[in-house]
């Protein structure tokens, strides 16, 4: 049985349209017109128990709408969805015990009270015995390094501490399926690392399934082997992160440090570097090329033979850049014009 299964999942909703200005306002008051937004257009995928999957897409791609359907917050307009063996929108008690949703921008903790009070409510609502809830709180406090923070009012906690406390509240009932929507949003680098490490450890300890959206690529590269990419409500990629990089960026970046600065006439000669690859930039003695992976060995050999160089480094282009290109093209047919 899959932990998450979506078949041809769709969501459409009407949105009122208003023209600017007085006329538009009057028309909007007298006769409101609506347009139908197709937020999710037939998305299908499934996730095995224990998998950690990155859910990527630009703003407005339909990620959060999909997560809302998977958690039962909203009803799908079409298609089938099943999470942990349940139809989410029925919101059966057994289902709600098995899942959680953490939203970076929305909080469940009571703002003016210590997080310990909200945890007490969650323990009662999820029917976790007192001793067991104390054990879990202790364990999560240690994993999240929240010692001494649970008795302070939530409003007095830093953003990072608050996010960790939110995670704690969301995980107290030990859900089997975690939906995380931008869990590191707005956190500083240290807090991001701490949250990531916690999620990795939680997944290892409990075998929970995690579906994660994030605009921080480090969250994805460090936690997820598999990514699902949606664009304008449609699924455009589902597979291994390495394959995504291979497919969407079939080139590597070669940086060469020359022994001597290039003369201006060579820099201005368009064909001078073409034999090695596509020039990204020339900065004094430093030159960056993009070289197709299949032509890498030949190009490096030529560079070493032809040029007087001090240093040479070969790297993959940053994942952010690759994903950005995927979003820009909006399809899996992207093929860079390199070499």
């Amino acid at each position: 049985m899959f932990a998450v299964q979506a078949e041809n999942l769709q969501k459409v909703y009407p949105v009122a349209i208003k023209e600017p200005g007085w006329q538009g306002t009057l028309r909007h008051f007298l006769r409101r017109t609506y347009t139908i937004i197709e937020a999710v257009k037939g998305v299908s995928f499934h996730i095995e128990p224990g998998e950690v999957v990155g859910f990527l897409g630009p703003n407005g791609a339909g990620k959060t709408t999909t997560l809302k359907m998977l958690t039962g917050l909203i009803h799908p307009s079409g298609g089938k969805v099943e999470v942990a063996g349940h139809i989410p929108y029925r919101r059966q008690e057994a289902f709600l015990h098995k899942i959680t949703l953490v939203m970076g921008q929305k909080q469940q903790l009571i703002w003016d009270l210590p997080a310990a009070d909200s945890l007490k409510i969650n323990a009662a609502v999820y029917n976790i015995p007192e001793a067991e809830s104390r054990r879990r709180i202790g364990e999560l406090t240690e994993m999240l390094s929240l010692q001494g923070k649970l008795n302070q009012p939530v409003r007095k906690l830093s953003l990072g501490e608050r996010m960790k406390a939110e995670l704690m509240a969301a995980l107290l009932h030990e859900p089997q399926v975690l939906f995380l929507d931008e869990p590191t949003l707005g956190l500083d680098v240290n807090a991001q690392v701490a949250v990531r490490e916690f999620l990795r450890e939680y997944n290892r300890r409990t075998g929970a399934t995690i579906l994660l959206t994030s605009h921080y690529m480090a969250d994805i590269t460090e936690l997820c082997d598999r990514v699902i990419v949606i664009h304008q409500g449609q699924l455009i990629y589902d597979g291994n992160l390495d394959s995504l990089i291979e497919r969407f960026a079939p080139y590597r970046e070669v940086q060469v440090e020359l022994a001597h600065p290039l003369s201006p006439d060579k820099i201005n000669q368009p064909d001078f570097f073409r034999a090695y690859g596509e020039v990204e930039s020339v900065n004094g003695q430093s030159v960056r090329f993009l070289v197709r992976r299949s032509q890498l060995t030949g190009a490096i050999g030529k560079i070493i033979a032809d040029l007087d160089i001090l240093d040479l480094t070969i790297t993959d282009p940053p994942v952010e850049e690759i994903i950005g290109r995927v979003f820009q093209t909006g399809s899996s047919d992207f093929s860079p014009k390199v070499g």
């Binding site: 039962g72 709600l96 929305k106 909080q107 009270l113 009070d117 009662a124 609502v125």
Partner: protein, 261 residues
């Protein structure tokens, strides 16, 4: 057992939450002083002897109204509307507990935090106006208290039902604001129903309004009331509104888009 634990936990946490607002509570209690102002007007008017109630009767009635009104203050529609419009309902929908319990028990806990202030103000009133002081008999007091609590539940249920329209409307509070106008006049808050014409009063007694304020206040003061009919009408309205509430809740959830969440 689980349900009992949820109730006691929510009550204790929301009581702690309300105590955080102890300074604001004094102002909230004072903001319910309209009956005290109306008392001044009616005790003056009663001196003409046209209303069948004496000045002291009016003074006692309005202090009882003040007390009962403090017990049935409800604001659930403002909170629920905000939750729906801003998507803050989502975290509560993810828990295996109807969100209504959070609202009901936060109101109940607030009553606990408010009571000391209410008692203080009533005692202050009796000190300043000792002629109006009275002690209702224990059975009358308990019956009035019971009815006032039922009145609170009914008022909560009705406002929570209006709140369900937040799923379709941007500002469901507008319904409550209109309803409040009827509530103000028909509940006995502005004037005791004894001063209404008999036929009008008879019709009003079949609506839910008098049971929020007039009915418990009159029992507290010792005015003659048909207790059996009162309880029956309250029960019937509660049942009707409860069914509507659950129907709207189920329909509304289909409409919910979890905006911003």
């Amino acid at each position: 057992m689980r349900f009992f634990r949820i109730i006691t936990t929510l009550l204790s946490v929301y009581y702690a939450y309300m105590v955080e607002y102890r300074a604001e509570l004094i102002f909230w209690v004072l903001s319910g002083s309209l009956p005290i102002i109306l008392m001044g007007i009616w005790t003056q008017a009663a001196s003409s002897g046209e209303f069948g109630l004496s000045s002291i009767d009016f003074a006692r009635y309005f202090i009882a109204v003040f007390f009962v009104r403090q017990l049935n203050v409800v604001w659930v529609i403002w909170e629920f509307e905000k939750e729906v419009v801003e998507g803050k309902l989502s975290p509560k929908l993810l828990q295996p507990l109807d969100p209504g319990w959070h609202h009901l028990l936060s109101h109940t806990a607030e009553r606990g935090a408010r009571i000391p202030f209410i008692i203080g103000l009533v005692l202050l009133f009796f000190t300043l106006y000792p002629e109006a002081a009275w002690f209702p008999s224990l059975p009358n007091f308990l019956l009035a208290l019971f009815v006032a609590i039922l009145g609170f539940f009914l008022r909560f249920l009705i406002q929570y039902t209006f709140a369900m329209f937040s799923f379709w409307m941007e500002r469901a509070t507008a319904i409550e604001q209109f309803w409040f106008l009827l509530y103000l006049f028909l509940s006995g808050m502005v004037a005791p129903l004894e001063v209404f014409p008999d036929r009008v009063r008879e019709i009003i007694m079949w609506t839910p309004f008098p049971y929020f304020i007039h009915f418990p206040a009159a029992l507290l003061v010792g005015l003659p009331e048909n207790v059996g009919r009162g309880l029956l009408v309250m029960f019937i309205w509660s049942a009707i509104i409860f069914v509507c509430n659950r129907w709207l809740w189920r329909r509304g959830l289909r409409h919910y888009s979890g905006m911003g969440a």
